[in-house]
């Protein structure tokens, strides 16, 4: 089982530690920068929820676009993992901030930039049942 399992496990631990055993709606955002396999992630999440006896009425997993912002010149740009070399894409898949080792601001060349959205996995919404 791949590393998507560990990401799904963190979501389940979050629900468990916060007492969300019965959930009406759970919405997860997958930042496209991390190239998470949505199918494997959703499968892992559903398996873990089932194993631990959680009830989730509506599960939604949505892609979130990646945006970066330069601290030097203020330029904002979006990034698609498809445009990257396979080895770089794999590094970013495991640790999205590895992007700092490979990218620079396309306008001024600065390495001082931030990932403002779409870095990885996040809980967008949890509605208790």
């Amino acid at each position: 089982m791949v590393h998507e399992w560990a990401l799904a496990e963190s979501i389940v631990l979050f629900l468990e530690n916060n007492g969300f055993r019965k959930v009406k709606s759970l919405k997860i955002g997958l930042g496209i920068l991390q190239s998470i396999d949505k199918e494997i992630f959703s499968f892992s999440l559903q398996e873990l929820l089932r194993e631990k006896g959680f009830s989730v009425e509506k599960l939604e997993v949505v892609d979130e676009g990646a945006e970066l912002a330069c601290h030097t010149c203020g330029f904002r740009w979006s990034l698609s993992p498809e445009s990257m070399d396979e080895a770089i894409r794999e590094s970013i898949h495991f640790v999205p901030e590895s992007i700092h080792a490979f990218a620079k601001c396309p306008r001024c060349g600065s390495r001082d930039f931030t990932i403002t959205q779409g870095r990885g996995i996040r809980i967008v919404e949890v509605l208790p049942g």
Partner: protein, 241 residues
């Protein structure tokens, strides 16, 4: 309680390891990376499954001490990432992803990497984990001091130089304020003179490592590590922690 799911994953994985040590120093150049790498490697040679995690993301160096190039390190995916194995040592460094490229990480991004790594790396079977940290007090150390306390034990490294001692005193105050009761002190490049300082500060003095003229003799390959002439000092420290 944190709303970041990875934090919950990180806590679970750390709880599965009987002993987790975070090697800290607020002063650079005191030998943290050498101390954490050699302690972990010698611990693994004592037949104890041991882990070494390099959290110095912007300047990782433990792979150089162990004698591995970034491209030689690889991790197997198994419900997370399984660390690279060197005998009984399980090793993880972000260098295998960033290669030797410069990595600029500010504030929250360093904390993000730490949470990501702690939540996905699978230290199954590891009995002792040593975590090497960057110098100073940045997000990685603050996360450990405030959010992961109780799960990690600090090992503070200092040289006998007064600049280092002054810096350690400040770090100890922060750790104490955060409610950390047991703080281990390792004296590097010394001869035992920090024992008195440790006693006066209420620190657990684990021992000293003497200054060696040419540290290159001891680092850069597994055989150099194994034949290092100051190995006995690290082994003596391992019996005290």
């Amino acid at each position: 309680m944190s709303s970041d799911p990875r934090f919950h994953g990180a806590v679970k994985r750390l709880k599965q390891i009987p002993k987790v040590y975070m090697v800290l120093s607020s002063k650079g150049g005191v030998g943290k990376s050498i101390v954490s790498t050699l302690l972990s490697y010698y611990s693994s040679l004592k037949n104890t499954p041991t882990g070494l995690l390099d959290l110095d993301f912007t300047n990782p160096s433990t792979h150089i001490i162990l004698g591995f190039r970034p491209e030689e390190l690889s991790y197997r995916e198994e419900k997370g990432l399984e660390p690279f194995k060197i005998g009984k040592l399980s090793y993880f460094s972000i260098i295998s992803f960033t290669k030797d490229n410069p990595l600029v990480l500010k504030g929250e991004e360093a904390r993000n990497v730490m949470r990501e790594v702690l939540s996905i790396v699978n230290w199954v079977g590891v009995q002792k984990l040593f975590i090497d940290t960057p110098p100073g007090l940045s997000d990685e150390q603050l996360e450990a001091i405030y959010n992961l306390k109780g799960l990690v034990k600090p090992i503070v490294v200092s040289t006998p130089h007064k600049l280092s001692i002054q810096s350690v005193s400040r770090l100890v105050r922060i750790l104490r304020d955060a409610g950390v009761s047991e703080i281990i002190l390792v004296e590097n490049m010394g001869s035992g003179e920090l024992k008195t300082f440790a006693d006066s500060e209420g620190l657990k003095y684990a021992g000293y490592i003497p200054f060696v003229e040419n540290i290159e003799e001891c680092i850069g390959s597994i055989s150099k590590l194994e034949n290092c002439r100051i190995r006995e000092y690290f082994e003596a420290i391992l019996t005290k922690i």
